[in-house]
Each structure stands twice: as C-alpha cells, then as structure tokens.
Symmetry: D2
Subunit: 260 residues, 4 copies
Amino acid sequence: MKILILGDIVGRPGRNAVANQLSHLREEYKPDLVIVNGENASAGRGLTEKNAKELFELDIDVITTGNHVWDKKEILTYIESYPQLIRPANYPDPCPGKGYTIIHKGETTIGVINLSGVVYLSNLTNPFHTIDKILHEISKQCNIIILDFHAEATSEKLAMGYYCDGRISLVYGTHTHVQTADKRILNGGTGYITDIGMTGPLDGILGVDKDIIIQQMQNNRPARYDLAQGPVQINGIITEINEETGKCQSLDNFIRIIEE
Amino acid sequence: MKILILGDIVGRPGRNAVANQLSHLREEYKPDLVIVNGENASAGRGLTEKNAKELFELDIDVITTGNHVWDKKEILTYIESYPQLIRPANYPDPCPGKGYTIIHKGETTIGVINLSGVVYLSNLTNPFHTIDKILHEISKQCNIIILDFHAEATSEKLAMGYYCDGRISLVYGTHTHVQTADKRILNGGTGYITDIGMTGPLDGILGVDKDIIIQQMQNNRPARYDLAQGPVQINGIITEINEETGKCQSLDNFIRIIEE
Amino acid sequence: MKILILGDIVGRPGRNAVANQLSHLREEYKPDLVIVNGENASAGRGLTEKNAKELFELDIDVITTGNHVWDKKEILTYIESYPQLIRPANYPDPCPGKGYTIIHKGETTIGVINLSGVVYLSNLTNPFHTIDKILHEISKQCNIIILDFHAEATSEKLAMGYYCDGRISLVYGTHTHVQTADKRILNGGTGYITDIGMTGPLDGILGVDKDIIIQQMQNNRPARYDLAQGPVQINGIITEINEETGKCQSLDNFIRIIEE
Amino acid sequence: MKILILGDIVGRPGRNAVANQLSHLREEYKPDLVIVNGENASAGRGLTEKNAKELFELDIDVITTGNHVWDKKEILTYIESYPQLIRPANYPDPCPGKGYTIIHKGETTIGVINLSGVVYLSNLTNPFHTIDKILHEISKQCNIIILDFHAEATSEKLAMGYYCDGRISLVYGTHTHVQTADKRILNGGTGYITDIGMTGPLDGILGVDKDIIIQQMQNNRPARYDLAQGPVQINGIITEINEETGKCQSLDNFIRIIEE
Ligand SMILES: [Fe+2]
Ligand SMILES: [Fe+2]
Ligand SMILES: [Fe+2]
Ligand SMILES: [Fe+2]
Ligand SMILES: [Fe+2]
Ligand SMILES: [Fe+2]
Ligand SMILES: [Fe+2]
Ligand SMILES: [Fe+2]
C-alpha cells in the first residue's frame, strides 16, 4: 500500500496548494491513502470546520494536528463529528476528539496515530507511555500503523522512532516546518524521518512573513503573525508499506516549489 | 572557492571517521577550505586540547563550536592559543576565545563566524545584533564570509539566513545533529541550510546510545550518556563560493554511512 | 526619605484598590515617593494610556512594568510622552520608552530603574551588564537609586540583589505576584526583597479566575484569562532610605486585604 | 496535632543546623510530627543514604524530596528500604520509591504526599491528575493529609492549593528556597503557603556561593556549585491540624538565623 503524507498546511496559500496540486501528486504517486497535517491550515493557527471540510472534500483520508490544534476554539465542539480528524493522543483525559483513527481500505486496516512531543512543548502525558497504551489497543486489528509525532527536539523524535521500530510501519515527525534529510528504514522495518516539513509559503519563516519574525527576534516584543506571500512549497513523503508484514518497503521525501 | 563543512563531530567514533575519511572527501570534492564543528568531539561533550590538535593536524582550517564548547574546562585556558578554533561570538564579554576568525587562502580572505541561537538555549547576547556588529568589523576585508549558526529552533535559523542574505556567502545551522533537506541559495545570493547534521554514530540519538535516551524519556531521571556503537555517519555540505562576488554558486548536502 | 511601592496592579480590581486605598496608605506611611508596577493594570495584560493617566492622577511618581509591558500595543506610541512610565531597560535598542527615570524631590535626586530577568523569560540583554551600564550613567547624579527587577527565578533575583549591594539603595522583585518573606538589608546597605507581590483579586491565581487556571493545568489547552472577583489584596513595601548615604535604613513588607 | 516542617536542607550547613537546632524548635513548638525536605541535603544535590539515616536519627518522621532526588544515584537502590523517605509521586511508573507515606501517631493517621510541578521543570505526569488518584487511594484511611508540592511557578502552586482546598489539610510549596509571605487558610479549611523556603547558608543564592552564581549569570558558562559559608537560616512552618475534621486551624511561617 502506498501512502502520501503532506507536512503542516499553512493558511490559505497552503490550502490552495493542496487543492491545486493534490491531483497531480496522486497521478504521479498513485497513493492508496493520503494524510495531511492541518494544525496551521486556518490563517496559520488552528483549523476551522470549514477548512477541515474542504480538505476532506479532496478525499484526504486523515488530518492529523499538533500543538496548535485548539487555536480555533470551534474545534472543541466539532472535532467529535470527524473521526478522521485526530489530535495528539497524549492530551490528558477528558479531551475532545481522538488521538488515533482506524481506516479500512479494501482488505487492509490502517491505524493512524497522532502524538505530541513534550520537550520544549506543553507538559502532556508521556508520549512513550501513550504509544504503548495505544498499540496495546489497536495492534491486533491493524495491518499497518502510522504515527505523526509532532515534536520539536530531534532527540525526542529519534527516540520515538527507535522505540516503535518493529512495532509499527512508519514514524514521521512534524512541527518544525523544515524537512529533514534523514529518512531511512530502521532495522526492525519501521520507516522513519525526523520531519516531513510544511506546505505553504516558501519565502517565509515556517510560513510567516519573514520581516515580522526577524524584527521580533531583534526587539523581543510581541507581534502579529501575517503569512508570507509568493511561491509555495509542498513538503511531503511517499511510502510503500507491505500489507502482509506491515513493514516499510520504501520511503521518499520530496519538496515541490509552486511558482505563483 | 570550494568549501567542505562537516557537522558536529561526536566522540571518538566521529573523530575516527574524520581521520579516516577526510582524505577521500578531499579527493572527491577538492575543497580549498575545510571547516568542522567540534563541540562534541571529546566523549560527546566539549573539546580537549589534544583532540583539537588532532583535528588541526588533518589540515582542517577552522573548528567551530556551540553550546557545549565549555564542557571540557581546559578550553577556557587553551582556546586563546588556537585562533582557528572559535566559539559562539555572542557569549557576553569578557569571554575567552574569539567568535570569528579570518583565513587567507592565496588572494582570498575568508571570515568564518560562529554564533549561538537563544531560543531554547542559553540567554546570550542577541545574535542578530551580534552579527551586525561583526559584519561591520570584517566585511570590508573579507571576500567570503561563512556563518555556523548553532541553534535549536528552525524559526531562528531561517530568520538568521534571511537576515544575512546578500551580506554574507553562506549561513548553515548546526546543533540538532539531524541534517535538513532545505538547502537553497536565497534571493540575495547567500547559501542556506537549516542544519548540516552530525558526524558520529549512526544508530544512536544525536550520537548517544539510544536505549539510554529512550529510558530517560520514559522515566525522567538523570542518566549518564554513553555514546552509541556501530556504523558511523558523516554529514556535511560542499559549497562553491565566487571569490569576486562572495555569492554562493552551489550548495550540496551529503550523508555518508561508514560501515564498521 | 520614605518610599512606598506597590506590586503588580492587576486589572480594574487592582486599579480600584489603589484609587480607594492609596490615600489611607499615604496617611499611614507618609511616603515621599510612590512607585507602582503597572504591567497588568489593563484587564490583566498591559497598560492603556487611559489607565496610566489615571494612576498618575493619583500622584504616583513612577510606574514600572515588566514582560507584559507591550501587551496593549498603544504603549509603543504613547510611552515616550510619559517619562515616569518606564519599561525594562534591557530590551535591545532601539526600543520605545526608557528603562529608568530620574525624579527630583526637594534636594534629593532619585533614580528608578526597571529591569527584566532572563531566566524562564524572554532573551533580553544580560541584566547584569545592563545594570552596570545604567549605574555608570546615573550614579553620580542620584542620591538614591531603586531597582524593580521583574523576574521569575529566585536565583536570578537574589544574584541581582547581591550584585547591586552597596551600589544602590533598594532592589525589589516583581512578576511572581506572590510576596516573599525574605526582606532584609544586605551587608552593603542595600534593601532587598525577592518579590513584593501584587495588587488585585485575592482569591485568584496571580489575579486570574482560579477555575480557569486549574482547568488549563488539567487539560493543557489554551484558555481566555478572566480576572477573579471578590476581595482584593494590596501587596507592597515601605522603605526608608538615607538621602545622604543612599543606604536603606528600614524595609517592611505588607499585605492588606480589602473586603468588598 | 501540631506539625513542624522545614524547607529544603542544603548541604552540611543545613544538616548541621537541623542537628543543632531541632531540639530547640521541638521545645518551642511541641510538634507531634516533623517533616523536612531533603533533596539538597548532600552537598547541595541529592541525598545519600548516610545523610538520610542521620536525619531519621533526629526523629524526623518524613523526608520529602523534589527534582534533585536522583542526583546521588545510590538513592535508586536504597529508597525502597526507607518508606518514610518519599519522592515526587508523579514520576512515571515504574519508579523506585513511593510518592506518599502513611504515618500513625496514636489514634491519628497522617498521609504525607510529595508531588513535583511541571512548569519550568521536568515533564512528569500531570500533578493534578496524580493528586486525584492518590486521594482516591488514601483519603478514607487518613485523618490528616499533607502535601509538599515541589514546584517553581507561583501559578501552579496556587492552583494546586485551591484544587486541594477542602480535600486535604495542608498544601505547602518547596523548591524556590525563598519563603513566601502568603500563608493563609483557604475557604475550605486547607492551610496554604506558596513556599516555605530553605535550611542552609543565609548569604548565598539558594545555598550556593553567591559569587559563583553572579559570575555564571554574567558569563553564561557552566560552573561548579560550591556552597556558601557563614550564618545559616532555618525556614519552616508550624501548623496545627484538627485530627477530627482534618482542617487546618493555624499556620505560621518562621525564619531563624543562626550566627556561626
Ligand atoms: Fe505546524
Ligand atoms: Fe506545531
Ligand atoms: Fe552538537
Ligand atoms: Fe549543540
Ligand atoms: Fe505581573
Ligand atoms: Fe510579569
Ligand atoms: Fe531545593
Ligand atoms: Fe528543587
């Protein structure tokens, strides 16, 4: 089974890029499943129901999120209606929404999990404990298991990759908005990449106007984050997982630049 | 002028890899200048005088460092004797050592600068103010200027890249030990990559034994960091800078795996 | 000279308490100078021009601030018109406003300085370097010098107290909104207290509704901070400084509870 | 029942002060139970078995700890042999030692709990969830319940105080080493103070030599922490709890200075 995954979609530029380019990516890669990270899809912070619907209308199978998941408050009430929109599983109970979802594609059952790191981020439940708990629940029923580990520190992401090696099909990172060059298949058969990057303005800083961020780093005063304009990048990965063994057979990362 | 740069050398495995492979890399890339980051070269933390000497004996031109620079205390006294060993320039004055060095190669004068980020790291002097000050001092005398920006956050690194665009030849990041896939030449002619990665054990976590780090992330208790064993990776970049214009003409990243 | 200082004024409850009680405190303590911290005076975050004016109309001599100083954006433009409203001196240049002010009372010249800590707070210019620079500028012209060190960590505040001992009259802390019990006169004659506390709702958490904060600490999701209601506390200190020597002669802290 | 509690004992100066003064404090306050925080008792970091024994030989009933609990590695193996030596309950399972202990004094059963905050500290299990779980286990069997909440942020400590109000007898904070002036009995009958302070060198910074800390804050380089010398302070609280109702009837804080 081939799976196409796109990094954090940032604002309207990111949503437009997905709307316009996903069909081309499908033609090229022939994915059986498409996953995107939507935590920044609405004006750079959070995800409105309207924008979630638009993404699902593109036949995206799963939307994962991250630390910005609650930035648009309406998600607290609408998330329960969209089981394929998931939030980091390690928010403490009780919490709206689910931290994983189970998808059926023909004979194949795929579990998609979302977790947040805790290093330099909020103090959520220990993600290593949470993944054990979830795998205990879903491993038997799933042929393939995919984890979006939304985290800052490379150490925490690598640790999660090794920790899951041999137990799940793929661990990929999101959150830094910069794609890493370290994709590989670990010894136990788990595909791994530290960060798949972002989908949104190219000449910005994580999607935000670069002059705003530079000024803020010079003056240390709060600022309003407007998104950058101009060309857009689509960062993602394409992976092939064996449905019988659940092992990762190939993993490739890509960065596409869309000129205006 | 061609410049070869290697990411954070971690411990003996990293030092051995450099000692054994640098001549092959030289043959392949024909660099005119070689820079390495040495902050983790001695047992994973800091740099002894002995290890610094060994690296310079390989005809490495400049050793940059980072937040671990002071971990071996002897560097406080010996660093002044090695002008081509530099430490982040934004440690407050007075501080042993220098934050940049000037190298002469034939007719060409090259400035190499080392700065530390402040996001998720120590509260040093603002790096954007420091780079302005240094460029004011050295820009006129240098044909080429290179910056090792040792920082954690992708936002801070990208901001520094854009901030220096058109003013220096190359901004590259170190510290996360994971190479990024985002190398490019910015509009003003500055080469940029968020992180060039590390040189040391492949099957570890930033070079450290993976089981130690996983356990620590599970139990949140202090641990002793032993280095990982097994195959070694060499992460780096090769860039070509025009000596007349100081602009980056090409930039490529590489990861070499050395089986035992 | 007697100086009365009140801790961070939080919102309308805090402003009302000052408006209603300051005359009583003046009768009781007969201060020659009154200083308040106003960083939270407007709805708990920042300070509007209207609220700053109201405080100055109560004959408050100096308003200091802290990390929330820029939360109401209008201060960026109006602060320059109010030299007795100061912001942390260690924001990097250029920055609107001043980090200290000089007051004349009869024959006595008083310097009031505001600094921010950097531990667990923004990465501003090193406060120990900044205080040296300011003292170099103003020590000769001032009989008395007072420092509001707005900081989180007790270690950083104590370090600043000792660092200034014998060089200025008083170092007091703000920011934690909880008054400490450690006031004393250091060996060099400098009065010191780690934190003077806050002026605002008593049965809240730093002034904010306690249920909001408890819920946020349980669920780790963003929340809107409404202020607490009910009785109000006024936290402050009264100190007597010798105008000839600049030494602190007495220092007392107080907490007043104002029932509704 | 009267309970005497002393703040973080720092090194030999702190241990000596307790050894020499505890009998005087007992005479004065007539406590039925004595609790001390021992996380810094051995050279400022951690607690050796030898030092733990010495403290228990003074008839101290319970030793609580905090973030430095594991700094002397031997505690990992000996802690299980001393049920009255406890560590923060919210270290994830499995973890050596216990997070609470049950003491019997005549007819009265007292539960003493130790928790760590997570703001600006390690990412442990959510302390608000952990306290609920522990109270569910022990509330019925205890007449009196005491909590040492070892935390940095005043907001987190106040939140825990209110959260436990009416459910336990006393919530007191440790860790900042500076005593706060905010002790009070909350509406539900729970005694509360944000921090009880420390027991150790007076003219230091949290017990450490002040010049070392000042220099480190000036130069941002690592340093070895030697303890301060000279007079010693004993910070603590004395509280009276009603054995029938479990309510706090009185709470007083004290700071004693012991000249050499
Ligand atoms: Fe994101
Ligand atoms: Fe994120
Ligand atoms: Fe490094
Ligand atoms: Fe580093
Ligand atoms: Fe405040
Ligand atoms: Fe503040
Ligand atoms: Fe402590
Ligand atoms: Fe502590």
